[in-house]
């Protein structure tokens, strides 16, 4: 993963050696600085991947929607991975000081980390956020909820996606994780919408259809 990320980042910054010096320093202060200043190294733009780069990243995790990632988020992933080698509490320690964009980055990054149970609380809290951008970063194009959320947390995320008017198709593993309870909650929500005279979510069938119906 590191080599693939660095290959991509080296095309986006001339300061890759300076960045590597911070990453490989083994010093928590340097790694914290690298986390906080990652946007200064590579900017905040979307990765805008070419075909070869996308293939590289899909080899790492094909469930992640890499088109949503920004340059600095790729750096932040490397920083956290290195930081955890030095201090197993690195993520939790820096998370206290996350700003808005850093929280979004962290939502994407946790999908790449070992020992994911350590990040379930952060991930479920992200889904409770008032910020649509933070919620979207965890709920859409991100395999973390599919693999590590409880049934209740996953269902709540699906219903909140509908509530916020977000598309359901980018929810990773929706068809595998949805249960009769997910359908019940979605059906109830639809009845609420109907009573209020509001339109149904356009892709509601992705939740309401049973797996058998989909197979047919």
């Amino acid at each position: 993963m590191r080599e693939s990320f660095l290959t991509i980042l080296s095309k986006r910054t001339e300061k890759i050696d300076d960045l590597l010096a911070l990453l490989d320093s083994g010093d928590i202060k340097n790694l914290t600085k690298a986390w906080n200043s990652s946007y200064r190294w590579v900017g905040k733009e979307l990765l805008n991947l070419n075909v070869e780069e996308l293939e590289l990243l899909q080899k790492i995790n094909s469930d992640i929607d890499w088109s949503l990632w920004t340059n600095d988020e790729l750096v932040r992933a490397l920083v956290v991975i290195e930081g955890l080698k030095v201090d197993s509490e690195f993520f939790n320690k820096i998370s206290r000081y996350f700003d808005f964009r850093e929280t979004i980055a962290a939502c994407r990054v946790v999908a790449l980390l070992d020992d994911p149970s350590r990040y379930v609380f952060f991930a479920t809290e992200s889904c409770r956020s008032n910020s649509v951008d933070v919620f979207r970063a965890m709920a859409l194009g991100n395999p973390f909820p599919y693999h590590h959320f409880s049934d209740l947390s996953f269902d709540q995320m699906v219903i909140k996606s509908m509530f916020l008017g977000l598309p359901l198709s980018p929810i990773v593993g929706l068809q595998k994780r949805k249960t009769s309870e997910t359908r019940r909650m979605a059906q109830d929500y639809c009845e609420e919408l109907s009573s209020a005279g509001r339109p149904m979510p356009v892709d509601i069938e992705l939740v309401l259809e049973t797996k058998k119906e989909q197979e047919v």
Partner: protein
């Protein structure tokens, strides 16, 4: 003409102020961290204050077409609380490199105690270590001595004076600040620190190089339009538009752009904002029709 107010405490101001500032041509501000009128009692309030300056306040300013930056640090008044100050020193590095932070500030002296000097020095060392800009507050009382001592500490720390602004200058302190090579900030307050006519005289006497004007408007009696009002007084005193632009726009850009957080081009882009946008679920609107530009 665009104006830049490089020292203003917007968290203490209203949306009416933001609207008036935008209408007067203010396009960018720097908000130094300072004390809130009464002493803080726990580190959590510092932490949330720093988060606000790098989060909600930036968003709030953007909703009126104003770009907001900040400096973060332990102010001199609260440096006299050792227990709390040590904790601030611990959390400060977590914030100094975040988006929108242009340096360490406002730090310096209040009563010139040993503790104030201790934390002032620590923060100057931090600036030296990480090559950060420093915004220095000079004291209300014993001001000349406080300014001279501040300059001494800057020199001892080995800082590049072009990456330091000594603020709240007056007729007595300005010669020392200019001689040091640091930028010279001047706060235009309605009745105290420095008023606009005196400021114009200083510009006539000392020229425009490294001269900065700000409002330092906060929760006290102060005027967030001090910068454009002083510019108008410069016009009456026959300064050219180019000269006014240099002091009120170009100088603060040259001063703080070393932080890498903005360029002249990034500040002079067309203003785009949409007040229907949310920040973490919150809006600047309270039921009003959203303005957009």
């Amino acid at each position: 003409m665009f104006y830049f107010d490089p020292h203003i405490h917007m968290t203490a101001r209203t949306t009416n102020d933001y609207e008036a500032m935008a209408a007067a041509g203010i396009r960018a501000v720097i908000e130094p961290a300072f004390w809130l009128g009464q002493p803080r009692t726990s580190i959590g309030t510092f932490e949330d204050y720093f988060k606000s300056l790098t989060g909600w306040e930036r968003f709030r300013a953007s909703q009126f077409g104003i770009q907001h930056f900040c400096t973060l640090g332990l102010n001199s008044k609260e440096a006299n609380n050792k227990e709390l100050s040590d904790q601030v020193m611990e959390i400060l590095p977590h914030f100094l490199f975040k988006e929108g932070v242009v340096g360490i500030g406002e730090i310096g002296f209040d009563e010139m105690t040993d503790l104030e000097e201790h934390y002032f020095k620590l923060q100057l060392e931090m600036a030296k270590e990480h090559d950060l800009f420093v915004q220095i507050h000079t004291p209300h009382r014993d001001k000349k001595n406080g300014t001279i001592e501040s300059i001494r500490l800057v020199k001892e720390a080995g800082l590049d004076p072009t990456k330091v602004i000594i603020d709240h200058n007056n007729e007595e302190t300005l010669p020392y600040t200019l001689e040091s090579g640091c930028w010279a900030g001047h706060t235009i307050y309605p009745d105290t620190k420095m008023d606009a006519p005196r400021m114009v005289k200083l510009l006539q006497e000392y020229g425009l190089e490294r001269m900065i004007v700000n409002s330092s408007a906060d929760w006290g009696k102060s005027d967030p339009l001090s910068v454009p009002k002083t510019a108008n007084l410069m016009r009456e005193a026959d300064f050219s538009e180019e000269q006014i632009q240099k002091v009120m726009w170009e100088n603060p850009i040259d001063c703080f752009a070393v932080s890498g957080q903005f360029t002249r081009e990034s500040l002079e882009v067309d203003v785009h904002y949409d007040q229907s946008e949310l920040f973490q679920g919150n809006s600047v609107l309270r039921g009003q029709v959203a303005e957009a530009k």
